[in-house]
Symmetry: C2
Subunit: 335 residues, 2 copies
């Protein structure tokens, strides 16, 4: 695997709610901090250049022109097939051609998954990919997968997700022997739906550090290192967590503005609350990983700020250095 001073990461400059501004800013910050890393911004040259003009010139920040853009609402498979010059397709092609070591996008998630599947191909032994995301809790981070790549899963898919998630937690989060929980609706092995009850049996028989079933309330408690579920349930969970946390904090802000007394109270409590919000900030972890494809693909949140993009580039670098894809391939040979 490449040394850090040879790492090259392609970043989709056109993807995300705040593209290209926040993306270019985040790429610039990463290139500034990690001088041994090369970042290639993929997208429309004039749009990228206009943003780059705001920042200092860096020798390790380059541009690769891609004339087309896949928009957020476009149908995934169709847009990937018909827009071969889009930043997403060009970015994944750079990985396939060995010109860069990873691709990162905050754009249309479905299109990124489709492009990576089509261009990188699947790892042998994996029939369905999974998106793994690190969810912060006050106790410890929890890896949830799948959060949206494979809505309909068979029990065997969940076992593969557990295997890949374990290697991810070990290599990227440095957790020795991480625990795997199966998201279900009761602790007992008989509880759940048909898929999870069957998956429970397979996971019990596996070599993984299987904790057993976990329930919705166990996620924010950080009960296990990895929480495995189908992509439908995982996506609902992810969006609900974000939505509920932001609703509660918004209501606290409104409460604080209610009277002079509560304004003063909120002011005094502010440093503590800020620390808490930082603890729960997914941007610290920067991005989700598409696992099961034969190459590094980082999917950042559509609303990513430059900080999230910078952290996602760091995760991409670690993923390459730790040879996560190679480790997944190796583990599938022996399982």
């Amino acid at each position: 695997m490449p040394e850090e001073n040879n790492l090259i990461i392609a970043v989709d400059a056109m993807g995300g709610d705040h593209a290209p501004h926040e993306i270019v800013k985040g790429a610039h910050r990463a290139a500034l901090e990690l001088k041994n890393l090369k970042v290639i911004l993929v997208g429309e040259l004039s749009a990228i250049q206009a943003e780059l003009n705001r920042f200092s010139k860096l020798p390790n920040l380059e541009v690769q022109t891609a004339s087309d853009v896949i928009e957020m609402g476009e149908e995934a498979a169709w847009s990937v097939r018909s827009k071969s010059n889009s930043s997403i397709v060009v970015g994944t092609r750079l990985v396939k051609e060995g010109k860069v070591h990873a691709f990162l996008s905050a754009g249309n998630t479905g299109a990124v998954v489709s492009a990576a599947l089509l261009t990188y191909g699947r790892i042998k032994g994996i029939s369905r990919p999974a998106i793994a995301i690190v969810v912060p809790t006050p106790y410890k981070p929890v890896v949830i997968l799948d959060v949206g790549a494979t809505a309909d899963c068979k029990p065997e898919h969940l076992v593969r997700f557990a295997q890949m998630g374990s290697l991810f937690a070990k290599k990227i989060l440095n957790i020795e022997n991480p625990t795997v929980g199966l998201l279900s609706i009761g602790e007992e092995k008989s509880k759940g739906n048909e898929i999870t009850v069957a998956a429970h049996k397979l996971l019990t028989a596996s070599q993984l550090n299987f904790f057993g079933n976990v329930e919705g309330n166990d996620i924010p408690k950080g009960k296990v290192d990895i929480c495995v579920c189908d992509g439908f349930t995982g996506n609902v969970v992810l969006k609900l967590m974000e939505g509920l946390a932001s609703t509660i904090f918004k209501q606290i802000r409104l409460t604080a503005e209610g009277s002079l007394i509560s304004k003063i109270g909120a002011l005094l409590l502010k440093p503590g609350l800020k620390k808490l919000i930082k603890q729960l900030d997914y941007e610290e972890y920067g991005g989700a990983q598409l696992l099961g494809v034969d190459g590094v693909c980082i999917i950042s949140h559509g609303s990513s700020s430059s900080k999230a993009i910078k952290n996602a580039i760091k995760v991409a670098a670690k993923t390459i250095q730790e040879n996560l894809i190679g480790e997944i391939k190796e583990s599938l040979k022996s399982s």
Copy 2:
């Protein structure tokens, strides 16, 4: 349907984490407030009597002996078949025999569902029951169903849940023409899993006020009146919401205790925060409804306080008076 002064509600005195104390206390509060209602506590006579001795004697609060108890962890179907003298089985039998108009329990949910299915039977046209719960949001309450009765659903089941949920929202929450959202992982009708994509088509063709797909983050925003999903997803959602909200508020308490300054801040902010917590307090709504069975069955949270039990008894009374079961039967005839 019976007048309020003829309403009789059976309450499982033995079910719940704080039974019989909180249950008896809640039943007493309800009987005190609603003098025209009769409450029958079902369970072990001596245990109930010991609790009743703490309170004033009321003419509309009676006891029905049931010598056995189904514990929280017991396997549902087996315990219902083998414990015919348990408070849960006796309670549902009182409804079936026409001696009471509703049964309420904070005990083993699976056992309550099994007993109601077995004793009441299903409403004609309903092949799977659903548990409907009212989730408070800062904007408006949202009815979620199913939250755990039917883990594996077919698309047609979700349509029935939407029908029953609409009548529930109309009759119990007084919402005219309530909107139905289908919980999925994208707004477009093509997004979701196999079940939801098929259900979307059926709901679009139905007479219901179908809003379309909603996502996890739309629930705390109160985007629709009714959120329909399979019992697996709904149960994960419900437990995650409870768990995340309690984790955040716990962390805010810990933050407040961090320093003298933040202690003072928290003290000043307290009245506002208390109001917010009350807004999000599921105990205000008192209990979930088991829909699809031929009788009124209210399932309260295992950790129910006397306040939750009192409010659940009120919901039971309203359910009888509004003739919700009759309305569901009627709507199924015409659909």
